[in-house]
């Protein structure tokens, strides 16, 4: 699905990531950890084509990122659901409409998916706030809405950047369970997080590989995690 081949990235100064190679197979489940500022968000951005590697090759759905047109990127984003660390919304439309936005821009019939939307919102504990505008949501509610928006198109790949940083333990378990279910349906999942407790708990339900960014390299974490 997504292949990085000796990829390096720098924001202009020194290299932040070097020599990163990774193949995300369909149906795999990955965690991504590393200290704050290590480059987790940068790595995810390389994976969904928001950044172009400064060296090496990144391939998304067998297309070289460098050769993708702007429309190719837009189309690929309908197959990759992303939860951003700083979740942003259209502040003038309701939360439910924001969650349904990917359906709308993909030209899908929103009314036909209404049931799915309602189920998803209620699973994320957002039903009662469906009509609120995003600025009226609490921090955790925003994060849950961002996750709901990322999976509404039932994409092939889900990349989540700290999807549980602002929610309590029970709710984070529910959210992870949702991702685990999607993974069982064959979706590829990658979650960036530094909540080691969460990672440990999840590993009891699914066979997850834990990647760690340290010293600019991507490494497979030991079995202790």
């Amino acid at each position: 699905m997504i292949e990085l081949d000796n990829v390096a990235y720098s924001y202009g100064g020194a290299e932040l990531l070097s020599d990163v190679s990774l193949k995300l197979a369909p149906g795999s489940f990955h965690f991504l950890t590393g200290p704050s500022g290590a480059g987790k968000t940068t790595f995810l951005k390389l994976c969904y084509g928001a950044l172009v590697p400064t060296a090496g090759q990144a391939r998304i759905f067998d297309q070289d990122v460098r050769e993708m047109t702007r429309d190719d990127i837009a189309i690929s984003r309908r197959r990759i659901g992303v939860v951003h660390q700083d979740c942003q919304f259209l502040d003038h439309v309701s939360m439910a409409e924001n969650v349904a936005m990917p359906l709308k821009v993909a030209g899908r019939d929103v009314a036909a998916e209404q049931q799915n939307l309602d189920d998803l919102l209620s699973w994320c504990g957002l039903s009662s706030r469906a009509n609120a505008l995003p600025p009226q949501l609490s921090g955790g509610e925003r994060q849950r809405a961002a996750l709901a928006r990322a999976v509404i198109l039932s994409p092939d790949v889900i990349l989540a950047d700290e999807p549980t940083g602002n929610v309590d333990w029970e709710m984070s378990q529910r959210l992870i369970q949702l991702l685990v279910e999607l993974n069982r349906m064959g979706k590829t999942v990658m979650i960036a997080s530094h909540d080691l407790g969460l990672i440990r708990a999840t590993k009891q339900h699914v066979q997850a590989r834990v990647l760690r960014i340290s010293n600019r390299r991507l490494q497979l974490a030991g079995a202790d995690l």
Partner: protein, 297 residues
Amino acid sequence: MPAALTAWLTGDASADRVVPPSGFTAQLTLFAAGVMTFLTVFALALSLATGRLAERWGDDLARASTVRISAPADQMRTQTAAALRVLETTEGVESAQALSAEDQQALLAPWFGPDVPVDALPVPQLIEVTESDGGFDAAGLRLRLSAEAPGAVLDDHTRWRRPLVAAASRLRTLGLLSILLIGGAMAAMITLAANAALAANSQVIGVLRLVGAKDRYIARAFVRRFTLRALIGSVVGMICGAIAILFLPDQGEVGLLTGLGFRGIEWLWLPLLPLAAAAVAYGATRRAASRVLAALR
């Protein structure tokens, strides 16, 4: 209206919801389009009025000359007839007509009073000459006149015609200049307002791009919104301008001035202004949108 345009104008109502409904930048676009159209209506009226003025002066004043025949009473008739023959065969003369005694008396009234018997005076005979578009060769005409009618003197008004024609063309330039200025300012203002609005909405554009919207979808939503806004503002400005022009005090023609306003078919210039404003907004928003989009991936 072609179906494609109608469809575009009606638009995909759902797509339009992605653009925030209002805010200051929106008001700015509306207002800039409205005010600048309003001003352009006036500039246009000024331009058309000066155009009319220049034309009238050009026609009425510049193309009229006079031939004056001073001769002993017994030769007056023959010399007048000879001069008229010469004039009729001169290229560039459209018509030539000897003034009647009454006309001459009316002309002289301010000096002699209405009761003076013009016939009893050695008043010269006046012939009014109307030039055709090309005008005639004054020097040649003078030569021929002096041969045929020695008492005839051609006065082609060049002396005081020149400055008036110059003034008229100055006025015309002024009208054109003002329309260019205000029209250019309108275009620039709408462009800047569209840019400001798009910059203010950069989060919307970013979010749409992130959830997989193609550039065309995003650009179109904004372009339609802003084009319509400029169109509406401009139509309102045009209507207000037209009303203001209609209700300008005193629309009669006085002295050398024609009324500031539109005559008959000239009103058809007005609908062009909102179309121009909409076209400017369309181009500006498209360019601004693709600039903002190009900065994202």
